[in-house]
């Protein structure tokens, strides 16, 4: 083991393939990419913090609204039924399938909601140049760990499939929540792509030590 020639703070290591590099901060809009495995390491954007906070607020409001309002309604031979997203999530509510209900509700409502709340909690102090909120590092770590479990966009495709399956059985109409959910899916993706994780960690770190 030879001692590193560069101070540790001026190094960056690709989390996917462990390749070590001397840190060079890319300018806004540029990307630092691992030369070995192609993982994007640093992707800074100008004013990303404010944009993400704005998008997160919108997502949070949309999630709550989309959960409460009727989502889809169905009409066949005079009988009708309309459901909200919460109803859909809790469809498996009898017997042992209740576990599945809770999982579904978590994946499409609570995990996305938790992630935007955590993002706002972490980013607001950073954007306002204040010291990070208490437990911000844990909050951001949790938010990152939850990322693969946030399945709003998959639910949206599931809706499309279900609609086509049902449409020859009965008439289906979209409620207001359906359109909110459609907007929500786009915003969740936008929020994820704007976020430069390295920059967030960097700012959480700087303010802690100084």
């Amino acid at each position: 083991m030879n001692a590193p020639a560069i101070p540790l703070d001026e190094m960056i290591v690709c989390p996917h393939c462990d390749a070590a590099y001397r840190l060079e901060r890319p300018g806004a809009g540029e990307r630092a990419v691992c030369q070995r495995c192609g993982t994007a390491l640093i992707t800074p954007r100008r004013k990303a913090g404010v944009q993400i906070i704005a998008v997160s607020l919108a997502v949070g409001i949309l999630i709550i609204a989309a959960t409460v309002f009727p989502f889809l309604s169905i009409n066949a031979a005079g009988t009708s039924n309309s459901v909200s997203i919460l109803d859909a999530a809790l469809a498996f509510s009898d017997g042992p399938l209740i576990a599945l209900s809770l999982t579904t509700a978590a994946l499409i409502i609570f995990v996305p909601l938790a992630r935007v709340l955590l993002a706002i909690y972490v980013l607001v102090p950073i954007v306002m140049d204040r010291p990070p909120a208490r437990g911000a590092a844990q909050a951001f770590r949790l938010s990152e760990a939850l990322r693969p479990w946030s399945m709003a966009e998959i639910f949206a495709i599931g809706c499309a499939v279900a609609l086509i399956k049902i449409s020859d059985l009965a008439d289906v109409t979209f409620g207001p929540a359906f359109w909110m959910f459609a907007a929500l899916v786009v915003l969740v993706v936008v929020q994820d792509n704007f976020l430069c994780r390295w920059s967030v960690w960097k700012s959480l770190d700087n303010t802690q030590t100084s």
């Binding site: 070590a20 760990a145 495709i157 390295w198």
Partner: protein, 216 residues
């Protein structure tokens, strides 16, 4: 063995006597156990990673079997009660003429899960021996597996939407079957299995003589 590709000067953090946090990418001296910045546990190479991968993989495979044998959906109309498995439901859709949807369901519920099982098993085996498949391709495969795994949940959501929406008293009702629980478990275990895989192991073998496993 020479380093693959056109960047022979790339050194891994482990060879420098360093360890990096996989969550926040902060670099620490080797032997550091907790990242002081984000609080994650850090290990240079996770020696138990493969054990966890295989254990979760096996759970995923085991849950996938009943997921295909039990009915996924129970459709009750005025005259009949019909129970469909995943594949049966897709065949039903083809009979109704909705070939596109049948393909989506088959890809999401059969092709992707089976492909994931094979891909994870291949990756876990390939880090222990020299593989004909290049490291870049295996890294790409790992990324695809991580990205695509969540999409298998689509069938669960379809069942959820249909069974909450189609509740028209005596006229027609759709209820979820037991397979849905097993299928969801299978997807979740497979996702966990893919997450347990330490992709840094793919790149380790290049700097070692052939055949020696990358234990640390």
């Amino acid at each position: 063995m020479e380093i693959a590709g056109q960047h022979p000067d790339i050194i891994s953090a482990r060879d420098l006597g360093l360890v990096a946090c996989t969550r926040c990418a902060k670099v620490w001296p080797a032997g550091t156990q907790t990242c002081a910045r984000c609080g994650s546990t850090i290990v240079s190479r996770d020696a138990k990673s493969l054990q966890r991968v295989w254990a979760l993989w096996l759970m995923g495979v085991m849950c996938y079997v009943p997921a295909n044998l039990y009915p996924m959906l129970q459709t009750r109309t005025l005259l009949s009660v019909q129970e469909d498995t995943i594949v049966g439901g897709a065949i039903q859709l083809v009979h109704h003429g909705a070939v596109g949807i049948a393909i989506i369901i088959l890809v999401a519920s059969v092709v992707i899960p089976l492909g994931k099982f094979m891909a994870i098993a291949f990756l876990a085996i390939s880090v222990k021996r020299v593989s004909a498949v290049s490291k870049h391709q295996r890294q790409r495969l790992y990324e695809v597996v991580e990205y695509i795994g969540r999409w298998s949940m689509i069938d669960i959501f379809v069942v959820a939407i249909m069974s909450s929406l189609v509740q028209l008293n005596t006229l027609a009702a759709i209820n979820p079957g037991r397979a849905s629980l097993f299928f969801a478990l299978s997807v979740i275990f497979t996702m966990l299995s893919a997450q347990a895989f330490d992709s840094r192991m793919i790149w380790d073998l290049q700097s070692k003589p052939e055949g020696s496993p990358a234990d640390d």
